[in-house]
């Protein structure tokens, strides 16, 4: 049939080109970027990017700490920018790729390894050497500095530790006549009693965020399992991990987990804790401070698994420096300043993580929250990183931690519809595909 389109109508080729361009531009333009260069990071001002590491007062305290920095002669000053956890990988990757990223930053626990592999990190060896000379080196908690070391150098400097510890709400346990759980079986028994009274026995969030996967991984490590063997190879489908998954499945099937936990967001879980609806669950240090209930939300002792093992998960969060800086000496001077003066963040009580410096853990302000001391003394020494049972951190952990494989894994576990070995096999396959 003859084409009867009016002369002003768009041709098919034109239409296709327009449609294709519109769709393609929307789909892929955000993915494209340039390469890292050696240009200045921002007109002589050193950009420091930070994450929300504490309660609502953290931002002001961290800003004040940055603003108080007085650079030495010829060195740049520093500006402060907070980056949200939601989509932080995208924020950092895009900015670094377009040479608009920070000179110094905090970030995800394995971010420094990831960007070091991509050639964007300035190694911290000079800074660590200076710490050795002035004694700061000996102030770091055991193993924290070693965790930052790679064959090419130190990718960052530890500054806080996120330990996944087990919390309970005392008033709920008092109401149901229970004592703080010491073992997995205790957890199940207490959670069942709490659920019978209308509380969420075991709080876990499998939706957006990372607390759900961290809780399941904590239990796997607690039982002597983990994602890797001691050689650093993936070793997920084993009896220890299966027992941990079976335990979570049992919690779900016993009805002690919120029925919406598969899609529950971390913030919603925190709100449920704040509203005094949750009896037990894994959370970060100083969680009692976050929910504003220091006397009622308390830390248990490390749990014993059914095998009698103890253990837990922790993250060595670090300050990293980037090659894209107005002055490497300036980056090192600022990072050194921040590490040596960050105690104010704990003195003001705005931090959720543990400090990486022993001297801060001995401050009266830190000890004022008795739960902090319990975490330092009882939990931190028995915890391992996401690399467990291997001791070596690497860039691939950045893909695993908070990645799609772990999220799907946690949601499948919380769905309680598949056998543990099947779930673990799928996890191993997904992680292999992600890090290949």
């Amino acid at each position: 049939m003859k084409n009867v389109l009016p002369p002003t109508a768009m041709s098919r080729r034109g239409f296709l080109a327009l449609t294709g361009a519109a769709a393609l531009a929307t789909s892929v333009s955000a993915c494209a970027a340039g390469n890292v260069g050696n240009t200045s990071a921002g007109g002589g001002i050193l950009k420091f990017w930070d994450m929300p590491w504490g309660n609502q007062d953290y931002l002001g305290a961290a800003q004040a700490l940055t603003q108080a920095y007085k650079p030495g002669s010829g060195l740049p000053g520093a500006s402060y920018q907070q980056v949200n956890w939601d989509g932080f990988n995208q924020t950092f990757s895009s900015a670094i790729a377009s040479n608009t990223g920070p000179a110094v930053s905090t970030g995800g626990g394995f971010q420094a390894f990831q960007f070091a592999k991509q050639g964007a990190i300035a190694y911290a060896d000079n800074l660590i050497d200076s710490f050795k000379k002035d004694g700061t080196y000996d102030d770091f908690l055991p193993h924290t500095l070693d965790a930052m070391k790679t064959s090419d150098g130190y990718v960052g400097v530890p500054w806080n530790l996120d330990v996944q510890v087990f919390w309970y709400r005392k008033s709920i346990l008092d109401q149901i006549g229970a004592t703080p759980p010491e073992t997995w079986d205790d957890v199940l028994a207490v959670a069942k009693k709490a659920s019978a009274k209308g509380y969420v026995g075991f709080g876990i969030s499998g939706g957006s965020g990372n607390y759900g996967p961290m809780a399941v991984l904590s239990l796997m490590i607690n039982n002597g399992g983990g994602l890797f063997n001691s050689n650093g190879d993936l070793d997920i489908v084993n009896d220890r991990n299966a027992e941990a998954v079976d335990f979570v499945t049992e919690l779900v099937k016993q009805g002690v987990v919120d029925p919406g936990s598969v899609s529950m967001k971390d913030d919603d879980l925190t709100t449920a804790w704040t509203n005094k609806k949750v009896a037990l669950g894994f959370q970060s240090p100083a969680f009692n401070n976050v929910v504003g209930d220091e006397k009622d939300v308390l830390v248990t002792n490390p749990l014993k698994s059914r095998r009698g093992d103890i253990g837990g998960l922790y993250y060595v969060n670090n300050i990293m420096m980037y090659k894209n800086t107005p002055s490497q000496a300036g980056s090192e001077a600022f990072a050194s300043y921040y590490i040596k003066n960050m105690k104010t963040l704990w003195q003001k009580g705005v931090m959720q993580g543990l400090p990486a410096l022993k001297s801060i853990t001995e401050l009266p302000e830190f000890k004022a929250n008795a739960q902090n001391t319990a975490v330092v003394e009882k939990w931190q020494p028995i915890c391992k990183t996401t690399a467990a049972q291997s001791g070596t951190l690497s860039a691939k952990l950045a893909t695993i931690d908070g990645g799609q494989a772990m999220t799907d894994f946690c949601q499948t576990v919380l769905s309680a519809k598949s056998p543990s070995k099947t779930i673990l096999t799928k996890l191993e396959s997904d992680i292999k595909a992600a890090i290949s």
Binding site: F15, A23, S29, C31, G260, V262, K265, D268, T407, A433
Partner: protein, 316 residues
């Protein structure tokens, strides 16, 4: 005679040139007008190249390499495409993208057309009604998604609480794969039906009411009038609306990401969300961009089919 006198009496600038002169004038400065037009278009073309063409070209480069956002990596040919096509997650996301788009396009079209037809009748407070009906489309999607999350997100949200109280058990829509899929599709329809309502309202204004009266006299029922008169008359704008809505739905990232993050267990991953996660969570830039390219290819194919329909409807 008088005409020619009048022509000579007119000022020079007001005289109408003879056809030959007009032809001469048009051809006397060849290329000047097109050159001016090209000059005027140039800034837009430059901006388009910078904002679209360059990123697309660089994305094509990335799709053929195994690098990251920061490092270009090695040339791997079509390996990224092969890897993506061999991944069950891709096909699952493709399947849901099709469902999501079909639900979004036809769901919003049916509701939009129904309301547009209703608004042609005499109903009170029509203006206020139109404004209220536009709200889902006008309100920022972040706000809408937050509202829906508040309504249905957790077991203590209002809707699940109400359903529990009414004896329907634990209805946590976003925790169940099928429930989450239905929810995001409903959300898409809810957000987009006002756009369809506007498009169909505009299309229906071209329909002369008198033809319905004539059809009625000829004994046509209301459904026959709708099927054999209304639908064919509004066919072309309908197809255009479908093309646009297909592009909106397939490229819709915030709806899925804000409501479910693609979960549970990837059940609501669409291709655009999968591409995002592949690039920014798995740090696999090449495969992620390959997904985006494959998605665009499929979208272009759908656009061709719909465009053919537009031509058919126009010619008939």
């Amino acid at each position: 005679m008088s005409t020619s006198v009048r022509r000579t009496e007119l000022p020079l600038t007001m005289r109408t040139p003879a056809p030959e002169a007009r032809k001469r004038r048009r051809t006397s400065s060849p290329g000047r007008a097109p050159a001016t037009k090209a000059f005027l278009i140039l800034p837009s073309v430059v901006i388009l190249i910078l904002t679209n063409a360059y990123p697309i070209a660089y994305a094509a480069f990335q799709a053929l390499h195994n690098g990251s956002l920061i490092t270009p990596g090695d040339f791997v040919g079509l390996d990224n495409f092969a890897k993506v096509l061999a991944d069950p997650a891709f096909w699952r996301a493709a399947g849901f993208t099709v469902i999501f788009a079909i639900a979004g396009v036809f769901g919003s079209w049916i509701i939009g057309l129904a309301i547009a037809l209703l608004l042609r009748t005499r109903i009170p407070a029509k203006g206020i009604l139109k404004t209220v009906l536009l709200l889902p489309w006008v309100v920022p999607i972040v706000v809408s998604a937050m509202s829906w999350n508040w309504l249905i997100g957790t077991s203590s949200s209002p809707v699940p609480s109400l359903m529990h109280a009414l004896g329907f058990g634990d209805a946590i829509f976003l925790s169940d794969p099928l429930g989450a899929q239905i929810t995001v599709c409903l959300f898409e329809v809810w957000v987009n039906f006002p756009f369809m309502m506007l498009m169909m309202s505009a299309a229906l204004t071209s329909v002369d009411e008198s033809i319905y009266e004539a059809a009625k006299i000829d004994g046509a029922s209301a459904s026959q009038s709708f099927r054999y008169m209304t639908l064919p008359i509004i066919a072309k704008p309908t197809y255009i609306a479908w093309v646009l809505m297909t592009i909106f739905c397939v490229n819709d990232f915030p709806t899925v990401y804000l409501l479910t993050h693609g979960g549970p267990v990837g059940a609501t991953n669409t291709l655009v969300v999968l591409a995002y996660k592949t690039v920014f969570q798995n740090f696999q830039t090449g495969p992620g961009v390959a997904i985006a390219f494959l998605m665009t290819l499929a979208l272009a194919a759908v656009a061709v089919l719909l465009f053919r329909q537009i031509r058919k409807s126009t010619s008939s």
